[in-house]
């Protein structure tokens, strides 16, 4: 229910704040005069963006902004800037952006064609796809084994949509949140839980006994994460992309990846050769 309230509130805010600004957005100009780049990010999506045990707002996406995007934007505006962080959630992020409350959404937002109608996306900075979380030793090894099985999903997720449309034999159980779906899996109400692979890896890492669980299957959906910006602001997009591009080329990106997703990272999620090739292909490598 609260999500719906937030949406309504966001719509009201968007009505009020966005009405006068029909002119072409110029985010760099705004950053130049205020000296701050305001990002909308998450507080509870480890390891992308979250508040850690010592109460610091950190994460992989935040590191990307601080270490790759910030220098590039500083170069474009010709002065030092600071990063300001605001909380944004899936229902609020687009309204926050269009109302000028934030300049860049840097969280876990999937770049989709529908969303491209209202915002612009940076280069893809993370690539994941739907997989399954199962108990170790389960006969389910991927999308081809789930026919007739009970599969939990999170309501509103793209993978629930794909399962319903392309695999109607699956007994789909949609839960409003992740903890309930995981509980159903742990107790055997369902045989598998499906979500973005990285979310499942995070769930597994946080579970009381991570070794009891396996993330299985090839990606059966594509979830490229991008940073979102106001539509039609080519100069700002160029600055953000240049920062990321530099990160891919210099290898700085992969160091940060290792820090958060390496064997010793917050959520171990090894970079597969295919994903690495996909990321590098964006910068022509």
């Amino acid at each position: 229910m609260s999500r719906i309230l937030v949406v309504i509130l966001a719509v009201v805010v968007a009505f009020g704040a966005a009405a006068p600004s029909v002119a072409q957005p110029d985010t760099l100009e705004k950053i130049k005069s205020s000296g701050a780049l305001t990002i909308g990010t998450r507080t509870g999506s480890p390891p992308f963006a979250y508040v850690n045990k010592s109460n610091e707002w950190v994460g992989f996406t935040i590191d990307l902004v601080e270490q790759l995007v910030k220098p590039s934007v500083e170069k474009a505006v010709g002065r030092q800037i600071k990063i300001e962080k605001k909380e944004s959630t899936p229902p609020t992020r687009i309204p926050l952006l269009t109302s000028n409350a934030v300049d860049l959404i840097a969280g876990t937002m999937t770049d989709t064609p529908q969303r491209r109608e209202s915002v612009d996306f940076s280069l893809t900075f993370f690539y994941t796809g739907a997989q399954f979380l199962v108990k170790k030793g389960s006969p389910i090894k991927g999308i081809n084994d789930v026919s007739g099985k009970r599969v939990a999903a999170q309501q509103g997720a793209t993978n629930a949509k794909i399962l319903r449309e392309k695999y109607p034999q699956v007994q789909l159980r949609e839960f409003p949140d992740q903890p309930a779906a995981f509980q159903a899996l742990a107790q055997g109400q369902v045989d598998a839980y499906t979500n973005d692979g990285i979310q499942l890896a995070g769930l597994k890492a946080k579970a009381p006994n991570p070794n009891e669980w396996d993330v299985v299957g090839d990606f059966y959906s594509e979830e490229p994460y991008g940073m979102a910006m106001r539509k039609g602001d080519a100069k700002f997009k160029a600055a953000v992309d240049a920062g990321l591009k530099n990160g891919f080329e210099s290898g700085k990106y992969f160091e940060l990846y290792e820090k958060w997703f390496g064997p010793k990272g917050e959520v171990p999620y090894p970079l597969t050769p295919q994903v690495k090739a996909y990321l590098l292909k964006q910068v022509g490598k």
Binding site: I4, V7, V11, A19, P91, Q171, G188
Partner: protein
């Protein structure tokens, strides 16, 4: 960016089909839960007024235990808490046969049974004690007195609060979406995720609940008038 309304999302694509499915699930869930709630409510409401102390205490425990814990918790209890207590083959059978629906039905029925019980008790206590004594003096047993005299009168008295409770039950059935029952509210959210048109989807859901509840209230008002006992419920006929 301003919000552009697009009401056609409600009848284009699968939305209409989903709403109808959600409506049917809501009706099915509420009707079954209502029958359970009515049975439990009449039983425990009657037991709370009988002369036998152990029966009264049993009924009091049921009512106080179930009505004082939030419905959401009961949903989780019946879905996550109860199945592990059953033998494994039965669990598997249940999980393959809409366990979430039955868990939601029992959760709603038992919770509202406890609330219904209080409504029925107040109906019974509104009947002068002399009626009960007169029934016994006629040679009826306590059971017969309840079945033939007390309950038929009490049930006529409690139609207005009973309607209230039934409408609550219908609306509370939406809590079942937390354990993956695809009822009406679930389906309005589904439309929202597919079309990103939250206000339209929510409005459709609201209107359906409103129409449902108004129809039930109208039917119950007729029932109330039809079964009113002249003289006992003096203004019943004029309502």
């Amino acid at each position: 960016m301003s919000y552009t309304f697009n009401w056609s999302v409600l009848w284009s694509g699968q939305s209409g089909h989903w709403l109808l499915q959600g409506l049917l699930t809501t009706l099915e869930l509420s009707a079954l839960a209502w029958l359970l709630a009515a049975a439990l409510g009449i039983l425990s409401g009657a037991l709370r007024t009988v002369p036998l102390a152990p029966l009264r205490y049993a009924a009091i425990s049921y009512v106080e235990f179930f009505r004082n814990v939030p419905l959401l918790v009961w949903m989780f209890f019946w879905y996550f808490g109860v199945p592990p207590l059953l033998p494994r083959p039965l669990q598997d059978w249940l999980f393959n046969h809409a366990a979430e629906f039955w868990a939601a039905m029992v959760a709603l029925g038992v919770y509202h049974g406890a609330r219904m019980s209080e409504v029925i008790r107040s109906g019974i206590q509104a009947i002068p004690r002399t009626q009960f004594e007169a029934s016994l003096a006629m040679g009826l047993t306590t059971f017969q007195a309840y079945r033939l005299i007390i309950l038929p009168v009490a049930l006529r008295l409690i139609v207005p609060p009973g309607t209230n409770e039934s409408l609550n039950l219908l609306k509370n059935s939406s809590v079942a979406l937390t354990i993956a029952v695809a009822e009406l509210t679930f389906q309005t959210r589904q439309i929202e995720t597919y079309t990103a048109k939250a206000i339209e989807a929510l409005t459709a859901g609201t209107l359906i609940y409103l129409v449902l509840c108004l129809s039930i209230a109208t039917i119950m008002a007729r029932v109330e008038r039809h079964y009113a006992i002249p003289g006992l419920i003096s203004r019943g006929g004029a309502a």
